[in-house]
Amino acid sequence: MTQINLAQQLAKSRRPLSQVFWGIGISALAIVIETLLWEWVIHSPFLILSFGVVLSCFYGGGLFAGVAATFFLTLYSFSLPNFIHGIPQVIFFIIDVWGSFLLHNYRMKIRRLAIAEVRAEEDHRLRFAAAAAKLGIWEWDIEKDFLTWDEQMLAFYGIDRESFSGQVAAWQNGVHPDDVNRANEALERALKGEQSFDLEFRVLHPDGQTRTIKANGLVIRDASGKALKMFGLNRDVTEEKRTLQQIFELKAYFEAALLQSEAGIVVADAPDGLIRFANSAALRVAGGEESVLVKNVDINRYGRWRITELDGTPIPNQDLPLARAIRLGESSSRELIMVRPNGEKRVVLSKTAPIRREDGSTMSGISVLMDITEQQKLMEDLKLAREAAEVAMRAKAKFLDIAAHELRTPVTAVSLLAQLIQRQIQKGESFEPSMLDRMRIQLDRLSRLVVDLLEVSKLDRGALELRPEITNLNNLISDCQTTFQFQFPHRAITFTPSKESAELMIDPVKIYEVVSNLLDNAIKYSPENSPIEMVLENKSDTIRFSIRDHGPGLSEESKRKLFTAFERGAADEKTSGLGLGLFICRGIIGLHKGLIGVSSSKGNGSTFYFDLPKEQVYERTGS
């Protein structure tokens, strides 16, 4: 552009007509001065002529103005009364014109020199700027096909000054073969004036290196529009392109990663927290639509995500992790509840951090959301299961301890009795036969314990088998009553049988075991003079056996533990026995698809009962 201005300035010249007016003006001025200095002027008329010429050349601004002034003043001098006419006048005129011409030339020369200096300076400045900006400058004289390149241009095309032909072909040779057609077309269109010369192409260096060049150019035309010259710049944009490409690829990677991530990701921009991005995982966690959760959502609309503390306390918009990251630059990792539109609550682990600019200011905030609801539930279940297993294990260990103790006691008794008898026999003394009875009773006790243990073990493994047959429950209970009454003749044991038929398909041995167990307990745990009442009732679908004692009754805690194996042992050190009886009873009744239970309160005695279904729904497991 600067070059074009200079050219225009050079081409500019004053019009002769305006110079004639200048001439008239200066002549008039000279005449006025002459009139004022009349006495002196009539003796020296050359002065007025020279004065006009000097004025016009230096201040009037041109050769023509000087000539015109001389001409008018000469005409005027002819009119003066005592002026010397004739040849000398003409000579003076010629000298004047000649002087005027010389002065004009001198002035023009000075002006040209000044312009050239300015131009050189501008040119220098341009080249300096171009070098600093790594711009190559070119100029092409179309008519002569004369191409001028600066050093930078040569470097761009990877050639040296010697191998540069100085023709447009040099450029065409440098352009990558794949791009040369496109480049030529662009040049053609620029020359035709269809399009400005502005294109990007690759150049192929002689050493095989490829660079990308951005070229711009202007066409200089004559008045008729014919293209005379082209000026322009080249810029190496290879690095720029590469950087852009890298940025583009990086962006693509990140976008793919964000979109594909199983974790929910939400990005919002500072300072107003406008959500810029939320991947599908985030929308899945929140259970909402993108249009609702993302579109035009700034900090004031974060409530659309419906987030609360774990205890359900709502969190104000300004205090949500993403809002805090943007407002305060705060990083956080915390568990929250996200309430889905359908009311479902999800436990979410939110890891949030600000994204900072180079200067440390917050640019955006990013939240990574992980739905840990299932995980938490699993952990909770696992914890409960582990605790239950530990409790069961401790109970079993304790039970084993007690079982060992309970087994050792009759063994100790039998062992001591046997040793005593042995000693007495050795001494030749007689021994009391009751000692043998004692041994037998202890052995029975031992045997019962072993049977109980086996039964529990079978129940525990689900291996207890029933041998069901049609049994009259009235008779079975009656038999049991008789047996116990024989053992405990002083206890008042009554039985009210069912009025209707009480025939069921049951395992009579096992049910007898249950009844005798309950009866044994009732006798053991109630005062000797208190009665025990047994009843068999027909209900709609079941037959109920119940046995009531007038003992101390049971606490709620005892009732809860009563039918559990390995529990009673933990109760205290004072009670003997394994406390397996009721557990076994429950197992046997359970196998019969019946129910066993107790109703009792402290001080009012206890009523144990079991219901057996009339329909035999259990499978016949025995033979």
């Binding site: 301890d401 060992a404 103790h405 309970e406 050792r408 006691t409 063994v411 100790t412 008794a413 062992s415 001591l416 009795l417 040793q419 005593l420 000693r423 000692m435 004692r438 009773i441 202890q442 205290d572 050190e573 004072k574 009670t575 003997s576």
Partner: protein
């Protein structure tokens, strides 16, 4: 040992299982000891409080009314002059339990009469 030559040694026997109590009482008496028998800790404590301190106490741990544990702690707290206290227990960790209860010694059930005699002699000599 020959208790018959001097004044008979007295043993307090506390055991809830009647057959064991019967056997031990019969055996110890046949060995020349004077035996005070109790069926639980409370009864044993009553005997201690009403009679002279015996030369040895044989104590079952698991008993109704007052267990061996309770008896031990009360015994230790109540009396200055103490007889050796031997606990008879069927627990698996008999030695530890005896130590916890601050008993002098222990016998693991089941035991033989010879073991019992050895133990009694050991503590009476001391």
């Amino acid at each position: 040992m020959n208790p018959k030559t001097s004044a008979p040694k007295r043993i307090l026997l506390i055991e809830d299982e009647p057959d064991i109590l019967f056997s031990l009482k019969m055996f110890l008496e046949s060995e020349g000891f004077e035996v005070s028998a109790a069926q639980n800790g409370e009864e044993g404590m009553r005997i201690l409080k009403t009679q002279e301190m015996p030369q040895l106490i044989l104590l079952d741990m698991k008993m109704p009314v007052m267990s061996g544990w309770d008896f031990c702690s009360e015994f230790i707290n109540t009396f200055d002059h103490k007889a050796p206290l031997v606990v008879m227990t069927a627990a698996a960790d008999a030695a530890e339990r005896a130590k916890e209860a601050q008993a002098t010694g222990w016998l693991g059930k089941p035991f033989t009469l010879d073991e019992l005699v050895t133990k009694i002699n050991q503590y009476l000599k001391n």
